[in-house]
């Protein structure tokens, strides 16, 4: 089990990092030939940063668009954020201040994450319009995340695993050193699902996380009259006359 997970974890981390980097590079390389911010839009770069910040942290547009969905999504993502920060302690020898800060929130955050996901899943199955646009992959993705959340919560609250050994395994792995992983089926399931998630991340709709920052309707400055905006391929057209 130790060797299997050592390999799987290394591979999936690699796929996740490389895949994501490739996608981000692709977004960054693809030109935006025309100015298309959804107006009213900020006139300055600082304004754009604020707009994107509000979208990323508060889900501003979603709040305007659908309040129940906003609540479910917000609860899930907030829980996820806390849980992720908390997980840093399994990778660092010295527990950082942020991790220490969220430590007491771990359990409620885990619950919020699972509850948010469950609500999102129910909504997907119950609301006719949303069911119509739902594909098998959308359901599987929620189930996968739920599986990770539930197995994690079970380990935290019900059948405790040898967390010291888990930490040793991961800190060891980062130093290319093999230390034994506890042979706990729940832990195995949890890690397996996490690896799966990392592998599909760069090929799935989970790309919405980096994608938001590349969305031209949200990240462009509203200054087309002041500044001429010309994509490289459009500039080449111009030279040809």
């Amino acid at each position: 089990m130790t060797i299997f997970f050592a390999i799987l974890f290394s591979v999936s981390t690699l796929v996740f990092a490389a895949g994501l980097a490739m996608k981000i590079a692709q977004y960054a390389r693809t030109p935006a030939p025309l100015k298309i911010p959804t107006t009213p839009a900020p006139l300055t770069k600082g304004g754009v940063a604020l707009r994107l910040g509000r979208e990323a942290l508060l889900f501003e547009s979603l709040f305007r668009g659908n309040k129940p969905l906003w609540l479910f999504a917000f609860v899930f993502h907030l829980g996820l954020a806390v849980v992720l920060i908390r997980h840093a302690r399994y990778f660092e020898t010295q527990v950082g201040p942020l991790v220490a800060l969220v430590q007491p929130l771990a359990q409620p955050a885990g619950l919020a994450m699972v509850a948010g996901l469950a609500l999102l899943l129910v909504r997907r199955l119950v609301v006719e319009r949303v069911r119509y646009v739902t594909g098998p992959s959308d359901i599987l993705m929620l189930v996968l995340l739920l599986g990770i959340g539930v197995s994690g919560m079970l380990m935290k609250c019900v059948v405790h695993t040898d967390i010291v050994a888990v930490k040793a395994f991961f800190t060891g792995l980062m130093g290319f050193e093999l230390r034994p992983l506890p042979a706990d089926p729940l832990l195995g399931l949890h890690l397996l699902l996490v690896c799966l998630l990392m592998i599909i991340f760069p090929f799935s709709k989970l790309l919405h996380a980096p994608g938001l920052f590349f969305s031209p309707t949200r990240n462009q400055t509203d200054n087309p009259r002041e500044v001429r905006h010309l994509a490289p391929w459009a500039a080449r057209l111009e030279e040809k006359g």
Partner: protein, 500 residues
Amino acid sequence: MAAAPFDIPALGDPAEHPIPALKPGAMAASKPYVAAEAHQQPLGFPGELTEGWEKRAVEHMGSLVSKYRSLQVYMDICVKCGACTDKCHYFLGTHDPKNMPVARADLFRSVYRRYFTPAGKIAPGLVGARDMTKDVLDEWFNYFHQCSQCRRCSVFCPYGIDTAEISMAARDIMDSIGQGQKYCNEIIGKVHKIGNNLGLPAPALLDTLEGLEEDMLDDTGVAVKMPIDVEGAEVLLVTPSADFFAEPHVLGLMGYAKVFHAAGVSWTLSTKASEAGNFGMFIGNYDQMKKISMRIREAAQELGVKRIIFGECGHAWRVAYSFLNTLAGPWDFLDPRYPVPQHILEFTNDLIERKGIKLDKSGNDGMVLTVHDSCNVARGARMGDRPGGQFTIPRAVIQASVPKFVDMHPDTICDKTFCCGGGGGLLTDELMELRVKGASPRMEALKDVVDKQGVTHMAAMCAICKAQFTKILPYYDFDREMVVSVHQLVSNAIILGDND
């Protein structure tokens, strides 16, 4: 009321806006006429579908996805959350689930997935990937011509996914394989051949302008001019050709002329740029957009003007405000003290603020006005120097011209405005059912202020909105003359003669 061969949606209370139950296939039969070879070829598109079009469509898709970041990102990141599902006026009016923005975009996305993503190549069923087939193409033709590219969906999407961008790309792909839409392509052909969307030749234009000058002289006793092709004028006015043609558009044109006259600014129209509209945007074709925009540059250079001002037209203003600098700039030969281009409402509002013109509201006595924010102005462009100027400036001009103004329900105005139902190249008779049904959210909000606040007229600042409303208002038991140009109100209120 016109007897329609389809149901007219019942209008409820805009504050409640119930979300309709799905009626799959309700609009599966709605489609515009396919462009004939005669409409395709002048634009450099193939005349019809030929052997191997599937492959060419996929290739063109690949090239667009690599050229447009919007498309690439929007193909990948939609989470199918459904926040956009109840935002499209065509879905609200027709109940056809394929008119939900995400479902519309998925028609395109399913093909993108199949050919350009690992998941779609390995497990098409899992991620809803589809081969490019004739059935898929037919669906594209129907439903990408049931999108007015109004961008209302993009306002509410957590990632700003703009289905209009996807519709444009789909239409460009269809054009590139010989399955164009007649209405748009025929019009673009007329712009290239005759100079404007309506196909009005220069002599007809001159005739019309002379007639309008006579009308204004009779009405006001003042010799307001309508100059055309005047070299050395300060301002080149580029306006939708509907302004030369039909009411209420033409009443707005007289309004612009009176404002220029009262302000003492020399101006001219141009036979070469006798059209502000740029249907290149509706078909998502960069080359066409550029070519149509270049006429304006050439006209400005030939006439030696110092400024360019656009008349009342929504998509024309979006192309002008957001794209003209890109497509036909740089504009360094014009007077740098003015933005290029300006909107006529910016010009008029500035004069009102500086007291450069005087308005007398009694010219519009008895009228209670509301305003329809045109989508392409509201969500795609700006006026003035502050965000949201496109909402405040038209309202300021209207309020200065009329005795009473009220806004429609807040969920239906400004950046949440509902499309007139005829934008995006859908203003064609064979799409009448779609146009009437798609207008229902706007009609609902209008009826609300008519019933509760005594509104008598609705001002519009877009040629397409005006044309659409005059046609569909009777279906909802309203008088077609309810819709007015913003500058028609200015025209009625402006005091001519004593401004010197």
